[in-house]
Symmetry: C2
Subunit: 146 residues, 2 copies
Amino acid sequence: MTQEQFSKYSFLLDRTARKVKQYAQQQFKMGEFDITVDQWLVMKNLSENEVLSQTALANLVFKDHPTLTRIIDLLCKKGYVERIPHPQDRRSFHLNLTQSGLQKVSELKPQVSQIREKAWENLNSKDFEEFKRILNTIYANLEQNN
Amino acid sequence: MTQEQFSKYSFLLDRTARKVKQYAQQQFKMGEFDITVDQWLVMKNLSENEVLSQTALANLVFKDHPTLTRIIDLLCKKGYVERIPHPQDRRSFHLNLTQSGLQKVSELKPQVSQIREKAWENLNSKDFEEFKRILNTIYANLEQNN
DNA sequence: CGGATATAGTTGTTATACTAACTATATTTG
DNA sequence: CAAATATAGTTAGTATAACAACTATATCCG
């Protein structure tokens, strides 16, 4: 295989990732979910982990700090999340889903799963495992500490 | 496989696509390439196709018109691309690589290929074919006209 | 021909991504 | 303890992504 051919993966990967996000975002909009796909990822992770700082959450969702700051800002404005001052460390916050945020997560969870399924028509569990393996290998190949 | 498990593909896909772009962008910066990864994609496609309108180019690179307008604006400012008025259709342009743009493409082409290769360490041609097949299937599953 | 419609491209707005620079607070260490 | 350093989070600036609304020009069709 030539270098030239290999190069195409980045185009296909980027194109597909954008399509997946775009499709989900359109469904979110049609269903009047009131949040974006990235905001959903953040809220879901908050719901699955009790006490999280912004740094801990950033590491979970693989977003950088400025990006997460802004997503949290928006979720606070919408009333789904609150920043609770950390009792020992005045630099830090505990992030909390509000009552409204908890309700939103449990309401959207099954709907999001259903939206996500559409991408896997005509594909099976073996494909899924292969896909995960290859994505994770690529990710590991490009990590900084190589 | 549960819905929940399937849902993770979107996270891994997004995470990996971002890492691939980020890694390339860092290499572009280190090499002082003077363009972004998306600008490179546009210039490469211009170099491979003689006469392109913005619409034709947008379809090639799978970006929408506003995004492409802005990328072309930046490439014009940098002197790598020019908009030539279409002789028959006054709404439209022919996009052209300048001399400087052509030189940039031929200078960067091998370097970009080399950067792109790093992702494929520990993976082989069969993986590559599988990966392409799965990405293309997902893309097709989510196209609008379904 | 002339009004309706379609197409090419631009502009505006919001969100995310990334880097860099910054503030405030903790921690380390001489 | 005090200075150096590290960490938590924010702000600023630029680029890309998506959608909606817009201008200008072409085309269609009665």
